[in-house]
C-alpha cells in the first residue's frame, strides 16, 4: 500500500491510522501526503470532528441486566433445547431396536414378516403397474393385448408370494366357466385402464 499515492488511497490510510492498523512505512507516506495536500487534510479534520460529534451524542442507555436473570434464562433455554433432543434420541433408539428386533425374530423361532417376499412383490407390482399403462400407439397396444392373459397368472403369482396360495394350488381357471372350477379363486378383474386404448375405441 505504500506505493499508492492517490488521494483516494490516502483516505483509506487515514482510516487505518485512526484504528491503529497502519504500518510504519504507510504512516510516513500518509504524513508526507498530508503535508502537501490541503483537501486531504481538510477531510481528515472533518472526519475527526464528525466522529467526536457522533460519540458525544449517543442514544438512550442500555437497560440494566441482572446476571442471575440472564443465567436463569440461559438455563431454561438449554432445557427447552435438550428435552426435544432427548425425546428424538429415545425415539430413534426405539426404532433402531425395533428394526434389529425384527431381524432377530427368525433366529429365536418366531416368524416375522417375510421382508424379501414383500420386496419381490413390490418390485413385480411396480413392473406390472408400469407395463399396464395405457398404450400410446398401435404397437404397444398390441403388446398389451397379447400380454393380457399373463395378468391373471401374475395375480396368482402375487397370492403365492404372499403365502395365501401354495404353489401346487395355483389352479388354472377355466376362462369360460371360472365359477365351475373346483377350488379356484374368483378371477381377478382388470381395471379399465388396462384395456388398450385402441381396442376400447
Amino acid at each position: 500500500m505504500s506505493s499508492v499515492k492517490t488521494c483516494e488511497a490516502i483516505r483509506r490510510l487515514m482510516l487505518l491510522a485512526d484504528s491503529g492498523e497502519l504500518e510504519a512505512e504507510d504512516r510516513q507516506a500518509l504524513a508526507g501526503h498530508l503535508d502537501s495536500c490541503a483537501p486531504c487534510r481538510r477531510i481528515q479534520d472533518e472526519n475527526r470532528q464528525l466522529l467526536a460529534l457522533v460519540r458525544t451524542h449517543r442514544g438512550r442507555t442500555a437497560p440494566a441486566l441482572s446476571v442471575a436473570a440472564l443465567e436463569g434464562k440461559a438455563k431454561r433455554r438449554l432445557l427447552l433445547f435438550r428435552v426435544p433432543m432427548m425425546v428424538c434420541a429415545v425415539a430413534a433408539l426405539f426404532l433402531a431396536l425395533l428394526g434389529s428386533g425384527q431381524r432377530l425374530l427368525p433366529l429365536i423361532g418366531i416368524e416375522g414378516p417375510s421382508a424379501p417376499a414383500r420386496s419381490a412383490l413390490l418390485d413385480e407390482w411396480q413392473f406390472w403397474m408400469v407395463s399396464s399403462l395405457t398404450p400410446q400407439n398401435e404397437s404397444t397396444a398390441a403388446t398389451a393385448f397379447e400380454s393380457e392373459w399373463n395378468q391373471r397368472d401374475f395375480a396368482r403369482h402375487l397370492l403365492v408370494l404372499e403365502g395365501l396360495l401354495p404353489d401346487e394350488e395355483a389352479t388354472v381357471i377355466d376362462e369360460e366357466y371360472p365359477e365351475s372350477t373346483p377350488g379356484a379363486l374368483p378371477p381377478i378383474t382388470l381395471r379399465g385402464c388396462n384395456t388398450p386404448a385402441l381396442l376400447r375405441s
Binding site: L15, L16, S19, R58, G59, R60, T61, A62, L65, A74
Partner: protein, 187 residues
C-alpha cells in the same frame, strides 16, 4: 490494549470457575458499545430484547468461547440476532445490498423520542440510520465498538478493503449531511 485483552480473558476465566461478579463486570464494560450498536441496527422496540438475548446466548456459549476479543464476539451474536429478527418479520434484505432504500428496519426515532432527545442527537441519529445497512454496520462497529478494520472485515466476511470502502462511503455521506451541524458545534 494488551492489558485490557488479558483482563477480559481473566474475567471470562473467573466466570467459568463460578465467579458471577466477573460476568457483571464484563456486561458493564461492554454495555455502551454493544447497546449503541444494537440500538442503531435493530428497531428501537427490539433493541432491549436483542441486547438481553445477546447476553443470554453469550452465557450459553461461554463454555466453548475461545477468543480474546469478547466485544467482537458479542457484536457477531447481536448482528445474527438482528438479521434473524429481520428475516422473521419478512423485512430481510440481501446482505450485500448497497442501496439506501433496501436496508433492514432502522431505529428511527419516533415523535416521543424526538421530543425527549436533543435536536442535534436526533439529527445525528437520523443521518446514521439513513446509511445503507452494510455501511452503518461498519461505521457503528468502528465508532461504538472501536473494532479494528481487520475484525470488522472478519465479522462481515468481506475483505479489509471492502470494510474500508464502506467506512469511507459512510463518512462521506455523514459529512455531507451533518457538515453544518459539526461546523456549528466546533465554532
Amino acid at each position: 490494549m494488551a492489558d485490557r485483552e488479558s483482563t477480559d480473558a481473566e474475567l471470562l476465566a473467573a466466570y467459568r470457575t463460578g465467579k458471577k461478579d466477573a460476568l457483571g463486570e464484563l456486561i458493564t464494560r461492554y454495555e455502551r458499545p454493544l447497546y449503541a450498536f444494537i440500538l442503531r441496527m435493530a428497531s428501537p422496540s427490539d433493541a432491549d430484547d436483542v441486547y438481553q438475548e445477546t447476553w443470554v446466548r453469550a452465557i450459553r456459549a461461554l463454555g466453548t468461547f475461545d477468543d480474546r476479543k469478547p466485544l467482537s464476539w458479542l457484536f457477531r451474536i447481536a448482528r445474527n440476532l438482528v438479521v434473524d429478527r429481520s428475516r422473521r418479520s419478512h423485512r430481510w434484505v440481501p446482505l450485500e445490498s448497497e442501496s439506501g432504500e433496501d436496508r433492514w428496519p432502522s431505529g428511527r426515532p419516533g415523535p416521543a423520542e424526538q421530543a425527549a432527545g436533543t435536536d442535534l442527537g436526533v439529527r445525528i441519529r437520523q443521518a446514521v440510520d439513513e446509511l445503507p445497512r452494510d455501511q452503518r454496520e461498519v461505521f457503528l462497529m468502528r465508532t461504538e465498538g472501536d473494532l479494528s478494520f481487520k475484525e470488522i472485515a472478519r465479522l462481515q466476511q468481506v475483505s479489509i478493503n471492502t470494510a474500508l470502502a464502506r467506512m469511507q462511503y459512510a463518512l462521506d455521506k455523514l459529512r455531507t449531511k451533518l457538515k453544518d451541524t459539526f461546523e456549528e458545534e466546533t465554532r
